[in-house]
Subunit: 137 residues, 2 copies
Amino acid sequence: MLSHKTKYALKALLYLAQQDENHISRTIEIAEGANIPKKFLEQILLDLKRGHFVGSKQGKYGGYYLLKDKETITLADIHRLFDGAIALLPCASLNFYERCSDCVEESECHLRHGLMTIRDETLKAMQGITIASLVKK
Amino acid sequence: MLSHKTKYALKALLYLAQQDENHISRTIEIAEGANIPKKFLEQILLDLKRGHFVGSKQGKYGGYYLLKDKETITLADIHRLFDGAIALLPCASLNFYERCSDCVEESECHLRHGLMTIRDETLKAMQGITIASLVKK
DNA sequence: TCTAATTCTACTAATTTTATAGAATTAATT
DNA sequence: AATTAATTCTATAAAATTAGTAGAATTAGA
């Protein structure tokens, strides 16, 4: 399941993607438009900025805007930024690999193989969903 | 991601599936064989029993055994029993549907549609992984 | 200099997860 | 009937994560 943070991030990106080119959106505007707690959204937008998905302009008349092309921002990207691994266990993850503490011999783990299959399928599906594709629906 | 509970449940089922037909496994035997904390495993086995995946025999020489055919127990089933919805948000779930509290008009939610696509793909993949298919690997 | 925005650091409250403890119950064997 | 060894049940606790808040610092346009 997605955390609220990831859901809010997606809703914020969706909001930004629907604005006119060159429009700068204030946090309060996004918060009200997408129904997200304002202070929580501040943190989320900062994280999106650090991830180079949005840009910001400081000071009066400042705010946020999409930095990356909305066709290239995928659900997988945002999931990884906020909720981490796509895989169902760290040992089956590409980007967040970690060994299971209860694992005796990883190469012989029956579970891991199955979970890597799931990861490949889920990843493919999640990479197919972009901010642009969501807006179009 | 799977919780430890779900991971342990899968490992326990895998252990049971690899025993001889008619063999009854004690909790301690499964715990040591699959490297799972014994007291935690007790609860998990009870949940699996309530879900009709395993059967139990009480008293001396009692223990647990697979009740359902290992070909019919899927990753999706076990995920739902312990971690709940397969979908990434409750509003996109088949079995755990719930409306988002921050949602204004669900039928117009851009995000929901995309997440239902992901759910269908992931579910299909997870239903393809059975305890039997994992053992074979 | 005033105003209104982002940015940063720290904190808190609630929830969920991961267990553990110990008594009650069950049933096979002696 | 007593003993033994297992499941079952209820309650609790500790740790981690999530969700959200507070408030000061910084930035920049008017």
